[in-house]
């Protein structure tokens, strides 16, 4: 099957407008004859559910949490980008487009990214109209801040809880539609299979997680908005429940899976403290605006710190190595995430790490506190030489900007970040890969769409900060409502789709069989035992740096682990009720397949780009070495029964508007 990206013709800045002018529309009266299933209710799914219901479609939405308000979008901290140029610092749609393509190491699709940049401004307008309390300046206008990978302040934010506020905005829009009866919300439900009838996605099989009942749900189209698959690493910044099941199940039914190896490692997370750890906590990238990242310049100082013989504050300026400022003077601490993460790993691997395990660097606010304190003292006409006063005033400013993050750090680590620098280390965060979609956000299964983090299209090999929230909401509020209408227009006379069709019965049986198998397996190890083992293989051999040998080993090891899992997993309890171990088992089963494809994808891509760093392909200075001649394509994998036998399809990436150059932040 040849991949058709369906990118509209014409100049890039006109594509979306021309597209919208020529698609099929569905008459408002006919929309109420069409049903749409949406799986996942985070920023993408929630905004899509609200918008499609408002347009008049009947929406059935599903989430595994007890309420849509808990979707993991809620944990996004830093902000959302939009090309508003409110600051007058030179921002524009083109510049946001350019930064995103460059930041993604030229592995995103130009047309999608341009559309994203075009609608970005609308997102802010929409959210403010919904009552999202974004940060304001004293004059009453919206405030902005800067983020990694860019030279303009285009990021809108709500303290360190931007994701929460944007999600609650989408949730409130959904609530309005639930109240009107246009969205039927199915909380505590998990999609366990996709139903295809005559080649088109026509429904899902879901498990009611409270009663255990297996349910059939039909619709004219199915939208997957189930987020990313970072939990394949077990330890990640994702919520514990975040899983790949919906995306993986559609892959097994024919949706190609694109660029699975593109995983973002976020540079500013709280380091791992021990084997018991269940997840990692991210500290917003916005901290890099004011925090300076360093390690000791001398190995013996690093060792003394690890042994507890010295403290960070004992080291003078010259005894510190501000390695990002040293290596990347133009961007300094604000280099993109992949660059910052790798630089931290490089220093720690070289022996300069500062926590017990040697896997942490400092994020220091002392300079910012002094700078802000001085400014405040000056403004208030106070003595700028009074160090105690300056520190106090500066601390207040830092507190007002990042207070909640500092408090979170304090609670977890039990150290005061105002007086001693934070310790941070990179952690698995966001997955840029996902189901392959065309310009319409449709997968290779007709009628099955994929939006937000669950698709692959907009971020390339590395996601710039504050662009995930933008994409989730752009897809849900402003893109899918057009593209899905174009798809549904011929279906207006179809009528309700029966769930008694043989395809529903077969899919339901397959789901029940898998569940019965787990319940009756009576093995020797818990689900977490396998998940942790998978995570360790992934982190050690498919993590921040990969090489051919490790990847080959990982593929073999994951396949063996999967076999052991089916033999030895133990799932207590029964299927007819709330059974959290059973939920985990069905998810880990999918991770055990996805992990293998992930490694296979990383192995075939003989280049380094963005979050994919192959040790064999680096410049003399240790930067990622892309190979545009051979790898400027999307790797879209077709399932053929086993992840190891997946077939590679290539979508060549055409760059007409952004020149492919070596990415440099120096």
């Amino acid at each position: 099957m040849a991949l058709d990206s369906k990118i509209p013709s014409g100049p890039i800045s006109d594509k979306w407008t021309n597209y919208k002018d020529h698609i099929n529309l569905v008459n408002p009266a006919n929309k109420r004859n069409l049903d749409i299933i949406i799986v996942g209710t985070g920023l993408a799914g929630g905004s899509a559910a609200a918008t499609l219901a408002e347009l008049g479609y009947n929406v059935k939405a599903f989430c595994f949490q007890d309420s849509p308000r808990r979707a993991h979008s809620i944990a996004a901290q830093g902000g959302i980008n939009a090309a508003k140029n409110y600051k007058g610092d030179g921002d524009s749609v083109h510049r946001l487009f350019y930064d995103t393509v460059k930041g993604g190491d030229y592995r995103a699709r130009e047309a999608n990214v341009h559309r994203l940049a075009e609608v970005s401004g609308n997102i802010i307008d929409q959210c403010v109209a919904q009552g999202v309390p974004l940060a304001r300046e004293y004059g009453g206008l919206l405030d902005n801040r800067s983020f990694g990978g860019t030279l303009v302040s285009r990021t809108f934010y709500a303290q360190g809880q931007t994701g929460q506020q944007l999600l609650l905005g989408a949730y409130s829009a959904m609530n309005r539609q639930i109240g009107r009866g246009k969205v039927k919300m199915h909380n505590r439900h998990e999609m366990l299979d996709l139903v295809i009838v005559n080649g088109k996605a026509r429904g899902i099989i879901a498990r009611n997680l409270v009663t255990g009942e297996i349910e059939r749900h039909s619709a004219h189209a199915v939208v997957i908005a189930s987020g990313g698959y970072g939990n394949v690493f077990f330890l990640s910044t994702n919520a514990m429940g975040s899983n790949a099941t919906a995306a993986w199940k559609i892959h097994k039914k024919g949706a190609f899976f694109a660029n699975p190896c593109y995983t973002q490692i976020h540079p500013t997370c709280i380091p791992v403290s021990g084997d018991h750890q269940s997840k990692l906590t991210l500290m917003s990238e916005s901290l890099r605006n004011d925090g300076r990242i360093w390690v000791p310049a001398k190995l013996e100082d690093a060792q003394a710190i690890r042994e507890g013989k010295k403290k960070a504050t004992d080291l003078s300026e010259v005894e510190r190595d501000y390695f990002l400022e040293r290596r990347y003077p133009a961007f300094g601490n604000l280099v993109p995430r992949d660059v910052a993460s790798r630089a931290a790993k490089e220093r720690c691997d070289a022996g300069f790490g500062v926590n017990k395990t040697g896997e942490a660097v400092y994020l220091d606010f002392a300079a910012a506190i002094q700078r802000y304190g001085n400014e405040q003292a000056y403004v208030k006409g106070l003595d700028t030489k009074d160090t105690k006063l300056v520190t106090k005033l500066g601390t207040e400013i830092v507190k007002s900007k990042y207070g909640n993050l500092f408090q979170m750090y304090y609670k977890i680590v039990d150290e005061d970040p105002y007086t001693s620098p934070m310790m941070i280390y990179p952690a698995v965060h966001y997955t840029m890969g996902g189901t392959w979609v065309d310009y319409n956000l449709q997968t290779t299964i007709p009628g099955c769409f994929s939006i937000g983090e669950s698709n692959f299209s907009d971020h390339g090999a590395n996601r710039l900060g504050a662009s995930a929230l933008m994409q989730g909401l752009a897809d849900g509020y402003f893109v899918l409502p057009y593209t899905i209408g174009d798809y549904l227009a011929p279906d207006i006379k179809m009528g309700t789709i029966s769930t008694d069709l043989p395809e529903f019965i077969a899919a339901e049986k397959a789901v029940k069989d898998q569940i019965d198998k787990f319940i009756n397996n009576k093995g020797t190890h818990s689900v977490d035992y396998f998940h942790k083992k998978l995570g360790k293989i992934m982190w050690d051999k498919v993590g921040m740096a990969r090489n051919e040998k490790g990847l080959n080993e990982a593929i073999v090891e994951i396949a063996a682990l999967r076999e052991e899992f089916y033999k030895e997993v133990k799932v207590p309890g029964d299927a007819n009720g709330l059974n959290q171990e059973l939920e985990k088992a069905t998810r880990v089963a999918d991770f055990l397949e996805l992990g293998e494809l992930f490694a296979k994808d990383a192995l075939h891509r003989n280049e380094s780009c963005g979050g994919h760093f192959r040790e064999e392909y680096q410049t003399e200075e240790g930067e990622a070495q892309r190979d545009d001649e051979n790898f400027a394509y999307v790797a879209a994998w077709e399932y053929t029964g086993k992840p190891s036998e997946a077939v590679l399809h290539k979508e060549p990436l055409v760059f007409d508007n952004v020149k492919l150059v070596q990415r440099s932040y120096k």
Partner: protein, 248 residues
């Protein structure tokens, strides 16, 4: 650390529950409370017992999914945190810890420590929104300036995570702090003023219909709220409600 856990076990909503005692050892102060339960669950699974069901998701204090009534306090003994951010360093070797579900008529138990908080959702369906179309054709966001103080106060109210600690901790099982936070957020913003009257009447009426108790100004909700949502919101909601009732 060696601890004795006394945990509420209940098979489902229709079955009676009881406290069951579990000893646990080798708990590190760095562990979160939920990681401690993970360890207990792993032991139970290995012994062939059913693990303890509890709600959790983000484990970074923001999703509001985790609950747990620990030694008689919602989210346990630490202030300003959710259960997932509660660390074992708050306990001492040899402690006995009681772990129960959030108890309220409007939060029926589903299993063990898991309760149904969908009554909070239904209150939102009744009016927890601004009736604006999601068309993208709204006015430019900077057309209506908003006083920074109002925006910040609205944000403080909007920071509610809907965990239900306020209800669990209130002797009347009142949801006033939660509802007041939502009412306040919108009442403080010009966009939300337009339908403020209907909103407060509808949300309060749904809150009553769900079986939450009344507020008697005890203030326990504010003390236990992991996000520091202030009682001022309740005062604001009362003013809004009074004025709406007079208009209504």
């Amino acid at each position: 650390m060696k601890l004795t856990l006394k945990i509420w076990r209940q098979k489902n909503a229709a079955t009676e529950g009881k406290i069951v005692e579990y000893p646990i050892d080798h708990i590190e102060p760095d562990m979160s409370f939920l990681e401690m339960l993970d360890i207990l669950n792993d032991e139970l699974i290995m012994k062939g017992d059913e693990p303890i069901a509890f709600d959790h998701d983000c484990r970074e204090g923001i999703c509001g999914m985790c609950s747990l009534y620990i030694n008689g306090e919602a989210h346990g003994p630490d202030r300003g945190v959710t259960t997932c951010q509660l660390h074992m360093r708050m306990f001492k070797d040899g402690d006995t810890i009681f772990i129960e579900p959030f108890r309220a008529k409007a939060f029926p138990v589903i299993k063990d420590l898991v309760v149904d908080r969908s009554s909070f959702d239904r209150i939102q369906h009744a009016g927890g929104f601004i009736s604006v179309n999601t068309s993208g054709n709204t006015i430019d966001a900077n057309t209506i300036p908003i006083n920074k103080k109002d925006a910040d106060t609205a944000f403080d109210a909007a920071a509610c995570i809907g965990c239900g600690a306020c209800v669990a901790t209130c002797k009347n099982s009142s949801a006033m702090l939660f509802v007041a936070a939502k009412v306040s957020q919108y009442a403080l913003l010009p966009q939300g003023r337009i339908e403020a009257t209907d909103r407060v009447l509808n949300m309060v009426s749904q809150m009553d219909a769900e079986g939450f108790g009344n507020c008697t100004n005890t203030g326990a909700c504010e003390v236990e709220c992991p996000k520091g949502i202030s009682l001022e919101n309740i005062a604001r909601m009362n003013r809004e409600y009074m004025s709406a009732s007079l208009k209504g």
